[in-house]
């Protein structure tokens, strides 16, 4: 295999030969170009979805309806969630996978470059369809991102548009996942064994299997919605012998693994960044791999904890409560290993490390509220309140989003050959970290005090904490513009980056010249390089 790979690599010569202008992007087959497109796309969706969140927080700043009709409010909550999950976080992970996996496993490119092009270019059309559905007769999708029937079937023309958009996003994710699996399984340089791959590669491998397992389930569920609405089936209608709760079971069989699709690559990133800035290899590498795999397995048997209130038999509630609590064990192992990595290290606090540390503190906080939510009797109080909103935003914003930003700061010097402005990066960090806590921490109080989620207006006893939360939202939202400024400034006029901007960094990607060449490893890395890179 290595011989074949070498030939393939030699067929390209060292001159880039990249097409210029629009062709470079539309016909892109290069993993770095495609990775860049994924990341830029994710960033745009992050701002579109974020603006919708600001509409929500603006309306919730005070009791009474000041700005939007409740129907528009419901569209905002629905489309905000779909954009952030499918448009921002998932494409950002695929973008990082594209950039990093070939460099980290010693490959010249992704295994399936044309598939790679296709899986990216599906996305802009999918999201044009989804965002376009906001403007059709009958209003945009407003049944919540969970798409529960019968409510979702009351949608107008937006329903089939949103469903086709979800089909396309799903197809894109599956193709991306196939590419990641084939690359990791077949394109590792000789000598890069499974158990000395960087943890980001490992967590993405597991994520890719999760994607292939559950995206078709989502596609099936939404297709049944489509046939119920247009072709007279009654999968989810009791009048025809169906069951609306069956949709929830199918949806969450997809939805819970999806949660780990959004967070597992973050575990990988943090496992790269914390060792670098602790100047010490990752503690318990193998247990980290096993913990990630255990979390992925458990994610398939806990889905109904999202629906404790639908009226399940006692045995069912018991099973889903206990299996959900089990997830705390491998997650705890990961947190303890990260702590042990820092212990007796030599720590410095550059921007990527700051974001990784915020992940560690705040994801753990989201883990605690997750454990509370797992307790079924208590969940009867928490369910569908702002406590849940606080919980999943703690694991998704400081969990996934902060880690994506940490990754961009961390690898940007290698990608572009230029350093970002450390002072501005730290400003961005502190504004984000303070903003996110002011935004989401009070939502725990609101939920416990009894404020339901997905309501456009509320009773006056919820006023104070809603106002605080909205102020936090605006601090957090606008400080993300600083992120774009820092990245653009670095790319255009940043100081020249050394080949090893971080003295503690290990991994094959740091053995490439800076900026990384257009075709990553045209020759497989030597055993000496692999040995040096593999010092986790």
């Amino acid at each position: 295999m290595s011989h074949h790979e070498h030939d393939a690599a030699a067929a390209h010569d060292d001159h880039d030969h990249k097409p210029y202008g629009w062709k470079r992007w539309v016909y892109a087959t290069n993993h770095k170009d495609i990775g860049t497109m994924y990341l830029v796309f994710a960033c745009i969706m992050f701002f579109v979805g974020g603006s919708m969140a600001l509409v929500i927080r603006l309306e919730l700043f005070q009791p009474g309806l000041q700005f939007v009709d409740p129907a528009i409010f419901n569209e905002m909550t629905t489309v905000h969630a779909l954009l952030m999950i499918f448009g921002a976080v998932m494409p950002a992970w695929t973008g990082l996978a594209n950039w990093l996996i070939p460099m980290q496993v010693g490959a010249p490119d992704m295994a399936l470059p044309r598939l790679n092009n296709f899986s990216f270019w599906i996305l802009p059309f999918a999201f044009m369809l989804l965002i376009g559905s906001l403007f059709v007769p009958g209003g945009g999708p407003a049944g919540g991102w969970t798409l529960y029937p019968p409510l979702v079937l009351q949608g107008g023309d937006s329903l089939p548009m949103a469903i086709f958009a979800i089909h396309m996003m799903g197809a894109s994710s599956i193709l991306g996942a196939i590419n990641v699996i084939v690359t990791i399984m077949n394109m590792r340089a000789p000598g890069v064994g499974l158990l000395n791959m960087p943890l980001f590669v490992w967590t993405w491998l597991i994520t890719a299997y999760l994607l292939i397992a559950v995206m078709p389930v989502l596609a099936g569920a939404v297709t049944m919605l489509l046939t119920d609405h247009f072709f007279g089936t009654s999968f989810f209608s009791a009048a025809g012998g169906g069951d609306p709760v069956m949709f929830q079971h199918i949806f969450w069989f997809f939805g819970h693994p999806e949660v780990y699709i959004l967070i597992l690559p973050a575990f990988g990133i943090v496992s790269e960044i914390i060792p670098t800035f602790s100047r010490k290899p990752l503690f318990g590498y193998e247990s980290m791999v096993y913990a990630s795999a255990s979390i992925a397995f458990l994610s398939f048997i806990v889905w109904a904890h999202h629906m404790f209130t639908v009226g399940m038999p006692l045995a069912g509630q018991m099973f889903f409560m206990l299996s959900t609590m089990l997830i705390a064990i491998p997650t705890g192992v990961k947190v303890f290993n990260w702590c042990a990595t820092m212990w007796r290290g030599s720590l410095t606090f550059e921007t990527p490390m700051l974001f990784a540390l915020a992940f560690l503190f705040l994801f753990t906080c989201g883990g605690f509220s997750g454990l509370m939510l797992a307790i079924a009797p208590a969940d009867f109080q928490y369910h569908d309140t702002y406590f849940v909103v606080a919980h999943f935003h703690y694991v998704l914003v400081p969990g996934s989003i902060f880690t994506i930003m940490a990754a961009v700061y961390y690898w940007l010097p290698k990608w572009t050959g230029r350093m970002y402005d450390e002072t501005l990066g730290k400003w961005h960090f502190w504004l984000s970290a303070i903003g996110v806590n002011v935004l989401f921490f009070p939502q725990h109080f609101l939920g416990l005090a009894g404020m339901p989620r997905r309501i456009p207006d509320y009773s006056v006893q919820f006023s104070d904490w809603n106002m605080v939360s909205s102020i936090g939202a605006f601090i957090f939202g606008f400080s993300q513009l600083l992120f774009v400024y820092v990245v653009v400034k670095a790319v255009r006029s940043g100081a020249k980056a050394p080949a090893r901007p971080w003295e503690g960094a290990h991994g094959l990607e740091w053995e490439l010249p800076t900026p990384a060449p257009y075709h990553s490893w045209t020759e497989p890395p030597s055993p000496a390089l692999i040995a040096r890179g593999a010092e986790h």
Binding site: V310, W343, P377
Partner: protein
């Protein structure tokens, strides 16, 4: 448009930080469970965050810390921090399982109330008494909640948590709710009673509550499953009174109210004529 004076009105919520203990035996058990899990998490948090903070302070390079690059693995530590959480989880699971069993124990109910969710109101049928009524958002709240109504929500008593017809139940009585819905899924919740459950079209769900004899009063809640445009505007108000007062109220109600319409679907606006006619299900199936 924004009224910046509003948040300084008293009772706008700074003090609301925790779950209510509620007024039923179950709600207190749930509260105790919640606090137990909270304190367990708090203790773990102090230890884990403590370790993190010590590491951040003690092992800074600026303090001259030298990395110990040999400290990369310890089977003992891995076993310890797998086993310890497992034991803690078992300790939490036992009381949680007990409360769950208590919640599901529907034996010995003394009265039954059928609750039907509609877009966007609730219908209550007193099956033992043979009368029923609808309960919708109070007119005053409804006026104030319109877009740019110009009415200060603070001036409306129980803004968004007030209805035209309250549910009345006796205290000290195990009340069984049979929950269903006519159009889409709704969910019935009063925080002070501790429980919420979905009302699903075509199916009947069951839950119960028993308000403490010494806790008569008016208790308020809301629909908690997204059910369309006015999801935020279908509150639930229950007045718990002594058995004697309840009997007097029920007698008065029976006299005042005509029997329920034969087909409640006629009274309910159906939002989408194309939607499958869930309303026509005559005999809902019991769930779970």
């Amino acid at each position: 448009m924004l009224n910046f004076a509003r948040p300084f009105v008293a009772d706008s919520g700074w003090h609301l930080l925790n779950m209510t203990q509620g007024v039923t035996d179950l709600s207190k058990k749930i509260y105790d469970l919640h606090m137990m899990v909270f304190w367990v998490c708090a203790v773990i948090a102090v230890i884990v965050y403590g370790v993190m903070v010590i590491a951040l302070v003690k092992f800074r390079r600026s303090n001259g810390a030298k990395p110990d690059t040999k400290m990369v693995h310890s089977t003992k530590a891995e076993i310890l921090w797998t086993a310890a959480p497992t034991i803690i989880l078992i300790v939490m699971a036992i009381p949680a399982a007990r409360v769950l069993i208590d919640i599901e124990d529907t034996r010995g109910t003394q009265m039954t109330l059928k609750v039907t969710g509609y877009q966007w109101k609730w219908q209550y049928e007193y099956l033992d008494e043979g009368f029923s009524f609808f309960s919708t958002l109070s007119a005053r709240s409804n006026e104030a909640r319109q877009l740019q109504s110009g009415i200060d929500p603070g001036s409306v008593e129980n803004y968004l948590l007030d209805v035209d017809n309250e549910v009345v139940v006796p205290t000290g009585t195990k009340v069984r709710l049979l929950l269903t819905a006519q159009d889409v899924i709704h969910a019935w919740w009063i925080p002070a009673f501790g429980m919420k459950k979905d009302a699903i079209p075509g199916f009947v769900n069951e839950m119960w509550f028993k308000v403490d004899t010494d806790k008569p009063g008016t208790y308020r809640g809301q629909c908690v499953e997204l059910c369309g445009r006015d999801h935020g505007f279908m509150p639930i108000v229950v007045r718990a009174v002594s058995m004697d007062e309840y009997k007097a109220w029920a007698a008065e109600r029976k006299a005042a109210l005509a029997p329920p319409p034969a087909d409640p679907a006629e009274a309910a606006p159906t939002a989408d004529p194309n939607a499958p006619a869930t309303a026509s299900v005559a005999a809902p199936v019991a769930r779970g």
